[in-house]
Symmetry: C2
């Protein structure tokens, strides 16, 4: 992924904020450019790596696996691979991942309402 510098004020503040504010903690898990899109697409059901890629055309492969790995590490997404050739890998939401649905729906609703007014 990316090497992070654990001595910077930037890093320290990130930790402080996430520790003190549960909203920031949540945003850390579902934020970033592509995570909402990934989670949204997985809401309908499991998808293979290539299918996800096709669902989100502008994403690069690097960004896609990077975010999938983070989501997996955070326990929101589950990876299942069949050891066949060619490889067959599916990604799906875990229980924790599914528990985000109401929040994501709320955000989507708010976003649409705002867009229609602006």
């Amino acid at each position: 992924m990316t090497a992070i510098k654990e001595t910077s004020t930037n890093f320290e503040n990130k930790r402080i904020v996430q520790f003190q504010c549960p909203v920031s903690f949540t945003l850390e898990k579902i934020g970033g450019r592509w995570k909402p899109l990934i989670l949204f697409n997985l809401q309908k059901g499991p998808l293979r790596y290539g299918e996800l890629k096709r669902c989100i055309p502008p994403i690069t492969e690097k960004m896609l696996i990077q975010h999938l790995k983070e989501l997996e590490a955070d326990g929101l997404v589950e990876r299942k691979s069949l050891p066949v050739v060619p490889p067959h890998v599916t990604y799906s939401l875990t229980t924790a991942g599914k528990s985000l649905n109401t929040i994501l729906d709320g955000m989507a609703e708010w976003g649409l309402a705002q867009q229609n007014q602006g």
Copy 2:
């Protein structure tokens, strides 16, 4: 604020994603390191600039006004200033800003639940 480069893929993707995904649109408004903290503190009622600063010790003054200005530009926060010396400025949530409360509460709840399990 910061000059942005409107020709980069980065910028283009940002636009595409926000246009196509209302969740990303919402995250753009309330994301960033300090916005959740600011919105949270204003939920209780209007605060002066200096009071806000004291509520969020690690934030720098630059970051505080920068985010306040963005929130104001997005219509989530209202700035009222009395033209006195020394200056007296208060910030409060607008109707749109207050309409975020349920979402923020949902995120806080989810974050706390996750933290207690992790």
